[in-house]
Symmetry: D2
Subunit: 111 residues, 4 copies
Amino acid sequence: MDDLTALVRAFAEERDWQQFHTPKNLAMALAGEVGELVAEFQWLTPEQAATVMDDPEAGARVRAEIGDVMIYLTRLADVLGIDLTEAAVAKLAEVSVRYPAGEVRGSAAKR
Amino acid sequence: MDDLTALVRAFAEERDWQQFHTPKNLAMALAGEVGELVAEFQWLTPEQAATVMDDPEAGARVRAEIGDVMIYLTRLADVLGIDLTEAAVAKLAEVSVRYPAGEVRGSAAKR
Amino acid sequence: MDDLTALVRAFAEERDWQQFHTPKNLAMALAGEVGELVAEFQWLTPEQAATVMDDPEAGARVRAEIGDVMIYLTRLADVLGIDLTEAAVAKLAEVSVRYPAGEVRGSAAKR
Amino acid sequence: MDDLTALVRAFAEERDWQQFHTPKNLAMALAGEVGELVAEFQWLTPEQAATVMDDPEAGARVRAEIGDVMIYLTRLADVLGIDLTEAAVAKLAEVSVRYPAGEVRGSAAKR
């Protein structure tokens, strides 16, 4: 993770793109990339979506879109001074309490 | 990263949520969480957005939303058998070639 | 449509919210609301999603989210000076040419 | 609005695309199109975004993306049996009560 953060930061700085990489702009870029990722799945049946990585072309597109999403998420977290893994672990701890395994097993109901 | 993937996977399995965690559903959940993250920035001026982490309440909300996005992205990549860091590095290599630092410095124009 | 545009505009002006309703901010707000709409469907099976309006509570939430999306889309179009219906009809004409009914029947393949 | 709904429905039926136009899939398609719309604004300054329609090329792209979003929103509402304008007006009435003009003037704070 630290390596990826450093890589993405260097990529931006070498291009003098820090001026564009404001939190607002990066949040928008992230939404744009997630839109492209969702679009890869939109017309697939659940069964087709489950095996999308078996298709070389569609699989490569999905992998590339996941990469794009991760790049912008990493960059946004860096610009905000947030540790991505720590933020995820902290949130996971919080939802683990809100959704105790013994009470919510097999249910997707929101709490 | 591997630890986070394992943590999120265990969280899902303990709740018997694998049935909900299909690629289509996880892509939708990711879009939903990114929507919440974007909403944190929507009415802020660029200046307010740049210092959002200085505000304890807004900063905590942004950190939690970033955590949510990372959780679903990690889970989606796991379900698809994609290494998140590798996918990001591969994509970064690709855009580095398409946007050579010497040619695009200071420009946000799309190629 | 013209009536809705006028209603939404009056709603914003009465609250002196024109200052927040810039194209960038409204595009973000739209993304946020679409995220909430998508979230209503994320854990539903295709079958459950197809009958979501039969459930009074879920149906009311979906209707409210659709209303939110339409409000921000109407406002964004108004601020940009775009006629929403005309833009949709023009785009539909364009895709009708790109996807001739006789050639693409029953196929979701992208062109 | 009724005309647009009928146009979009005919477009789908002529191509035998009803099978793809489930609520889940259409919500995903809507998210994808909103992502493309957001991407048009992501690197623009607020000032550039405010005059985007003065640029023939960018303006045409924004208009086309707005058209796409409207097409999928219209189709989703049709499939769900929701009147788009009524849903927007009903939601506007609700937020008008929650955000009384006299109390929230000039403030973007959430209630």
